[in-house]
């Protein structure tokens, strides 16, 4: 072929490549990690909502003053150093040098104070902490002071809270937004920049590496330590169908699935190019929630009967199946967390139907059908209610299990009307363990009547113990109080823990560096080859 012919052939091939979209790969192509998360990102204000997907988005874009490490301890993150006064009434915090927002402006103490105020207006633990706060004061551009009315052990725990709502730091102009209004400026100081222009709800959300992010020098540990970004771009691709997501992973179209369903693990295990990793060693806890407003669950003895009738193994087997991914844990606090205890749980959760029946008789249960709400569209919850129904019926309850989608359940559980008038008696759900590490964090333990979460338990003793826990600064004493709360919970059950379960994330073999933490985060994750 002569020169003219070669040029013509090259031009023809290039044109073909352009038309068919097959373009040559640039020599220094950026590394893109394609991830399928557990949900679509529709809302992008992690303070406005408690949805986990928005929390995960928050960890991409924003940074926190403190963070929880792999041992469950709170470590400084944006904070360089902090001092607590001898009387435990003043916390002085100084930010690390060189922290900047995504727009290049420096992070200031003023920004942090505004962010704490907006977060605390929405978050229950933040509200509890602010109950002790006398003043939040800016000392200089990098230092601020929290002055308390009385000592509390909550300050660091609240500011280093790992799960929703997380106290993410935002620029003052953003943090000044009314807490009940969504933000529209997504400037953060976290390791990734959110590409608003590429965000297509229902399709994908895109993040790029923030080149000016200054990681801490320590190695990553849990949500704390150095947040070193090792990919240029991350795409959260939304694939609603679990089977399609798995097919996409097997075909190498995506790199990482955050939460493939348990029943499809065998399919993933068969593929040599895919690995399953337990990224969250603390896992999750199944929970049975009572509505204490209406008969018969307004009587603690009837609730205790349920406690005696249940056993965790049945629930875990029915939903998770493979024992590798679950464990029984007879504690309100997650197994593996600092406050775990079996105190008060003797004889409970052993399917002791005789004891349950005796309690029902003693309580004068009149056969009122229990309206048990069953969520049918979330695989991880669907099988829980039938197990609960079976065990309760064996104990002598009449159970009216009503099936509905999760969103209907969410709306219905907010209703205080009697069960016969559209209300409810009980439902089952699952908590991320990081949300229930202590009696203050654990929303279902809140027993402040009308102010409590749906179910509205009302118990002065539990509330008094939760207050004592919040005031206590000594860890050993905090543990003793947590035990006392658990013992009280067995007499006045607000909910029942039904065991711990773990979910694997599935990734292609060339993906490495996943951090073990209660939240899926993407710093330290690297993609070898393409």
């Amino acid at each position: 072929m002569n020169l003219r012919g070669r040029i013509a052939l090259t031009c023809a091939l290039l044109s073909l490549a352009t038309v068919t979209g097959i373009a040559p790969v640039p020599a220094l192509a950026e590394t893109t990690l394609k991830v399928v998360m557990h949900s679509d990102l529709k809302i992008v204000d992690p303070i406005w909502t408690t949805a986990y997907i928005v929390r995960n988005h928050g960890y991409m874009v924003y940074d926190t003053l403190f963070a929880m490490d792999a041992k469950g301890e709170i470590r400084p993150q944006m904070v360089d150093k902090y001092e607590v006064s001898r009387d435990n009434l003043t916390y002085t915090m100084t930010l690390r040098d060189g922290l900047v927002w995504h727009d290049g402006k420096p992070v200031t103490a003023e920004d942090c104070v505004a962010s704490i105020k907006r977060w605390a207006a929405k978050d229950s633990m933040g509200q509890k902490m602010m109950g002790f706060v006398k003043e939040l004061q800016v000392v200089n551009s990098r230092t601020f002071k929290i002055t308390l009315n009385e000592p509390t052990g909550l300050v660091l725990g609240a500011l280093g809270k790992p799960s929703s709502n997380v106290p993410f730091m935002m620029p003052k102009r953003v943090a000044d937004t009314d807490p009940n209004t969504q933000i529209s400026d997504f400037t953060g100081s976290g390791p990734f920049i959110f590409r608003k222009e590429d965000w297509k709800p229902g399709d994908k959300a895109v993040y790029v590496k923030f080149a000016q992010y200054k990681p801490r020098p320590e190695p990553p540990s849990g949500l704390a330590g150095g947040k070193v970004v090792k990919v240029d771009r991350i795409e959260w691709k939304w694939i609603p169908d679990a089977q399609t997501a798995i097919n996409a992973l097997l075909a190498g179209e995506v790199d990482y699935l955050e939460s493939p369903p348990h029943d499809l693990y065998p399919v993933l295990k068969q593929d040599a190019n895919v690995k399953l990793v337990n990224g969250n060693p603390l896992g999750n806890q199944f929970t049975f929630r009572f509505n204490t407003l209406h008969k018969p669950f307004d009587n603690p003895k009837v609730r205790q009967a349920v406690f005696y009738a249940f056993s965790q193994e049945g629930f875990l087997k029915a939903v998770i199946g493979d024992p590798t991914w679950y464990k029984t844990c007879r504690s309100f606090y997650p197994c593996g967390s600092p406050l775990v205890t079996t105190k008060g749980m003797e004889g409970l959760l052993e399917s002791n139907f005789e004891k349950a029946r005796a309690l029902l008789k003693e309580a004068g249960y009149d056969g009122t059908p229990i309206v048990l709400m069953q969520s049918t569209d979330l695989g991880v919850l669907t099988n829980l209610a039938p197990v609960a129904k079976d065990l309760m019926e064996k104990a002598g309850f009449k159970v009216d299990m009503q099936s509905m989608d999760w969103q209907t359940l969410v709306a219905r559980r907010a209703k205080k009307e009697p069960p016969a008038a559209g209300g409810w008696h009980a439902f089952l759900t699952s908590w991320v363990s990081a949300d229930i590490l202590n009696p203050v964090m654990m929303g279902f333990m809140n027993s402040s009547c009308d102010k409590a979460m749906f179910g509205w338990p009302c118990d002065k003793e539990i509330e008094s113990l939760r207050d004592q826990f919040a005031r206590e600064t000594n860890l050993a004493k905090q543990k003793a109080i947590a035990e006392a709360v658990q013992v009280r919970e067995t007499l006045y059950p607000t909910h029942i823990p039904l065991g711990q379960w773990y979910g694997a994330l599935a990734a292609r073999k060339n993906i490495d560096g996943m951090i073990e933490a209660p939240v899926t985060v993407f710093w330290n994750v690297e993609k070898k080859g393409r």
């Binding site: 352009t18 038309v19 068919t20 979209g21 097959i22 373009a23 679509d40 529709k42 809302i43 992008v44 909502t49 408690t50 949805a51 986990y52 928005v54 929405k122 229950s124 929703s164 709502n165 009940n180 209004t181 969504q182 529209s184 297509k200 709800p201 229902g202 399709d203 691709k237 939304w238 694939i239 609603p240 169908d241 089977q243 399609t244 997501a245 097919n247 996409a248 097997l250 075909a251 179209e253 569209d377 509905m404 989608d405 969103q407 209907t408 969410v410 709306a411 219905r412 907010a414 759900t429 949300d435 929303g443 102010k451 979460m453 749906f454």
Partner: protein, 313 residues
């Protein structure tokens, strides 16, 4: 004719009004609360109430309807409760994938089904007829998602010829665009091929032995022109009707196909919006679908006059 078109277009107004009222009421009467969904699992009753107030859901239903319909008449479909975007923006973003999938499916279905139907009628009673009709029954019987998974397994996973999922916009390259449409279009087309092929066969059988066809053959015309000019033309009215119905029914099929292939189109938007009780989005999408239904029916009716000069409006 023009008067007929004007009358039909005017008739859509009460249809749309009824659709608007029914959709609005249906959503409000369905259980579920967008405020509770937005607030998330850890929210308190107070948080939910604050969001409800912010969204205007604490107002009386009549007032909510008045505000919505007033805005719609001004061309404003409101803002999605969830997406922080206007509904018009959302629909605009999602229109292309659905339109591309629908057009590809219908073109594919028509190109395959009509020849198959004619062939089955022409070879009536032979093994060809039985194979085509057998396929037709199978096409009707197998759910769209099963067809989808089977095609993905063979062509995407085993053979790696085509991608498993996703959509590429046309402006990002024609190759990627068409590559990602092949499997979804084939999946969705199967049922329409079955439907159109059966109707084509039946319609062709009704005219294939007519006097004018016999005359055409007697004049010495080859078989192909006889089938195309004399048989198919006279059998076309029911075929066009079923294609029109197929386009309308496609909206239902698109919902499943878009989910299986992770195509961010209007079908997925509808499902997501219904599950999240995103009232403004559901209302706007249903109104849009209703307009499409009405227009397709009008188009089908007008096509009759072209295909059969005896039909006059």
């Amino acid at each position: 004719m023009l008067g007929y078109v004007v009358r039909r277009v005017l008739a859509t107004i009460p249809v749309m009004a009824v659709v608007a009222v029914v959709v609005f009421l249906l959503l409000r009467l369905t259980s579920g609360d967008p405020a509770a969904i937005i607030a998330g699992d850890n929210a308190t009753s107070q948080d939910v109430e604050a969001i409800r107030t912010q969204l205007g859901l604490d107002r009386p239903i009549v007032q909510q309807f008045g505000i919505w319909i007033g805005n719609v008449l001004r061309g404003d479909f409101g803002e999605s409760f969830f997406f922080k975007k206007t509904v018009a923006e959302l629909i605009k973003e999602r229109l292309e994938p659905t339109l591309a999938l629908s057009v590809c499916t219908i073109v594919l279905a028509v190109l395959v089904a009509i020849p198959l139907g004619v062939l089955a009628a022409w070879k009536r009673g032979t093994w060809i007829d039985r194979v085509v009709m057998g396929f037709s029954v199978l096409g009707f019987s197998v759910p769209v998602f099963v067809t989808g998974y089977v095609l993905i397994y063979f062509f995407a996973i085993q053979l790696s010829w085509l991608p498993v999922q996703g959509y590429q916009h046309l402006q990002e390259g024609f190759g990627g665009f068409i590559e990602r449409l092949i499997l979804p279009s084939v999946t969705l087309a199967v049922i329409y091929v079955a439907l159109i092929a059966r109707i084509t066969r039946t319609s062709v059988l009704e005219v294939i032995n007519a006097d004018y066809v016999r005359t055409a053959r007697a004049k010495g015309l080859p078989e192909l022109p006889v089938l195309l000019r004399h048989v198919l033309r006279n059998a076309a009215v029911p075929i066009v009707t079923v294609i029109g119905l197929g386009v309308a029914l496609l909206i239902g099929g698109v919902v499943v196909t878009e989910s299986v292939y992770a195509i961010p189109g209007l079908g997925r938007l509808t499902v997501d919006a219904v599950l999240a009780r995103d009232y403004p989005t559901v209302q706007a999408v249903i109104l849009l679908f209703s307009v499409v239904y009405v227009l397709i029916n009008l188009l089908v009716d007008l096509t009759y006059t072209v295909l059969d000069p005896r039909i006059r409006y």
